[in-house]
């Protein structure tokens, strides 16, 4: 089968990319989704707070998703559910399978990767101890509780203060479980402030910084965990161990972009984000393969995923229509001195539509800093920040006019202390 645009993943990223490609004149679009419905992880995020930027109102995850699903239905964009993509080649050849169509071989003119991310698991953390039931990633527990209708436990300890862990602390409390504590390895939280307030402080759930779980106890079912304080090198301090009785341990210890398919297609992956390097139109290192959302870098807010994915959909449409010029002047972006990464990684100003929103994360908590962008020695952007944290993504919007004036071959983003 030959298709103009194939989008891998029917979550918020894939849906937004599809809508924007359609809006820009691409009619032959196919979305491939492995779950039983569209919407991705938003379907299990029943809490509210989505959509403040895009819709200027607070929506729950399923409501946010449904707005995009309704639009996809209204425009008649084709999608296949229950469909797993098995292989993606750098020639944009896709092998996919589902129970209805069997094995499908698809040649696409352009591809948008929108596979999202996965949770880090216990295996990735190497927590010593037994292997009893009752140890879940926070997102798996969220699916059980919010979609399948199973409570996963009664006495809960949560490791990691990522947003899903915080949200699940509240959710489990509301459903009658006792959430004993959230333990966080770092001296700060990686979750959003409003979640710490509304999910922990509202219910007097303690949050222990610089602590971790050092042992898991129990044979059939989890019986308890040993927690300990850690030093500045994140190593457990002897003598600080404490036994906490619990039947459930939820892990909210980070998300990793899911790029198995990208690697098969020989797409260059940024080791810092674990996502593809992308340019001003969200194109990866492989011609005609675009990427957006959490598969590129993990976002805090779905609103930014949507915005980034509109851009990928626009880029794919320009590519298919042959209006995407690759011969213009191009420069790279780089984060130094406190800026851990910047997305997108390279910019060709002539393809920019209006402006580029650069997304970045800082490497530590800093107070009173300037976020500056330099073209050589020339400062082209400066913004004062009272507080930045790795848990909250920063963004800098630069207009096409500003980008066109860049002389050098590198745009450098950095933090500097505010002169006293």
């Amino acid at each position: 089968m030959k298709r103009d645009l194939v989008i891998i993943g029917g979550g918020p990223a894939g849906l937004a990319a599809a809508l924007e490609a359609k809006k820009n004149g691409i009619d032959d679009i196919l979305i491939l989704e492995r779950d039983k419905r569209l919407g991705g992880i938003l379907q299990q995020c029943i809490h509210n707070g989505f959509g403040l930027h895009i819709f200027k109102e607070q929506l729950t995850g399923p409501e946010y998703a449904q707005r995009f699903i309704d639009e996809v239905e209204r425009l008649g964009i084709e999608y296949k559910l229950d469909t797993m993509v098995l292989h993606l080649g750098d020639d944009k050849h896709i092998t996919a399978i589902n129970p209805k169509d069997g094995l499908m071989e698809i040649d696409a003119k352009a591809v948008v990767l929108a596979m999202g991310c996965r949770e880090r698991t216990r295996g990735a953390l190497n927590i010593p101890g037994n292997r009893p039931a009752g140890v879940f990633t926070a997102g798996a527990a969220q699916r059980f509780v919010n979609m399948e209708g199973y409570m996963v436990g009664k006495k809960v300890v949560i490791l990691g203060s990522g947003d899903i862990g915080l949200i699940m602390a509240r959710r489990m409390t509301l459903e009658g479980a006792e959430v004993k504590m959230v333990v966080e390895l770092m001296p700060y939280s990686t979750g959003l402030k409003r979640n710490i307030v509304q999910c922990l402080e509202d219910f007097d759930i303690p949050l222990l910084f610089s602590h971790t779980v050092v042992k898991i106890h129990g044979k059939e079912r989890l019986e308890g965990v040993t927690i300990a304080k850690v030093d500045e090198n994140r190593r457990p301090i002897e003598g600080t161990e404490e036994y906490i009785e619990c039947d459930t341990l939820l892990l909210s210890v980070g998300l990793i972009p899911e790029n198995e398919l990208s690697r098969e297609a020989n797409i260059k992956i940024n080791p810092v984000t674990s996502g593809a390097y992308v340019n001003e139109l969200m194109e990866t290192s492989i011609d005609g393969i675009f990427a957006c959302g959490n598969v590129v870098h993990v976002h805090d807010l779905v609103d930014f995923v949507t915005e980034e994915s509109y851009l990928a959909g626009y880029g794919a449409a320009m590519y298919i229509k042959g209006q995407y010029k690759k011969d213009g002047k191009r420069f790279n972006t780089m984060g130094v001195n406190g800026i851990r990464y910047v997305v997108p990684n390279s910019i060709c100003p002539q393809n920019v539509k209006g402006s580029v929103n650069f997304y970045m994360r800082v490497s530590d908590v800093y107070h009173n800093v300037n976020l500056i962008v330099k073209d050589g020695e020339n400062i082209i952007y400066k913004s004062r920040k009272n507080h930045v944290s790795p848990g909250e993504m920063e963004n800098v919007k630069l207009s096409k006019e500003v980008l066109e004036k860049v002389d050098g071959n590198e745009l450098v983003f950095s933090l500097e202390e505010v002169a006293k």
Partner: protein, 118 residues
């Protein structure tokens, strides 16, 4: 008495200091919503509750719900009991009222997802 709190009106999360004497004085807020939030927090804290309700005859076992208005924070657990008592019948659409005026709060429990007959 000075109370410290984090404003949650938007993702910015301003650190507020609230002084409660005869009047309520708020500092640290970057916009008006911060002042409003702090005043409400010390006088009448409210929250939107989100949860799930069992569905009969649907293509999935649960439908997600929310209170369509903020409800008093101290009523959260009582409202959860009401939510857990009820069952919805498929099909359910976004915005369908599942419980009207829950516990006399003036807020309805409404569906936030679509469930088809299945």
């Amino acid at each position: 008495m000075i109370k410290k709190m984090t404003c949650i009106s938007c993702p910015l999360g301003c650190q507020l200091e609230v002084e409660v004497n005869e009047t309520i004085k708020v500092t640290g807020n970057k916009c008006k919503r911060g002042e409003e939030y702090a005043k409400n927090e010390v006088t009448n804290p409210k929250r939107v509750i989100t949860s799930t309700v069992r569905v009969e005859g649907g293509d999935r076992p649960l439908v997600s719900v929310k209170t369509d208005k903020e409800v008093p924070k101290d009523k959260i657990f009582e409202i959860m009991k009401e939510i857990n008592k009820i069952k919805a019948l498929a099909p359910v659409n976004i915005g369908d009222i599942i419980i009207e005026n829950v516990l006399g709060t003036g807020a309805n429990i409404v569906a936030t997802a679509k469930v088809m007959k299945g």
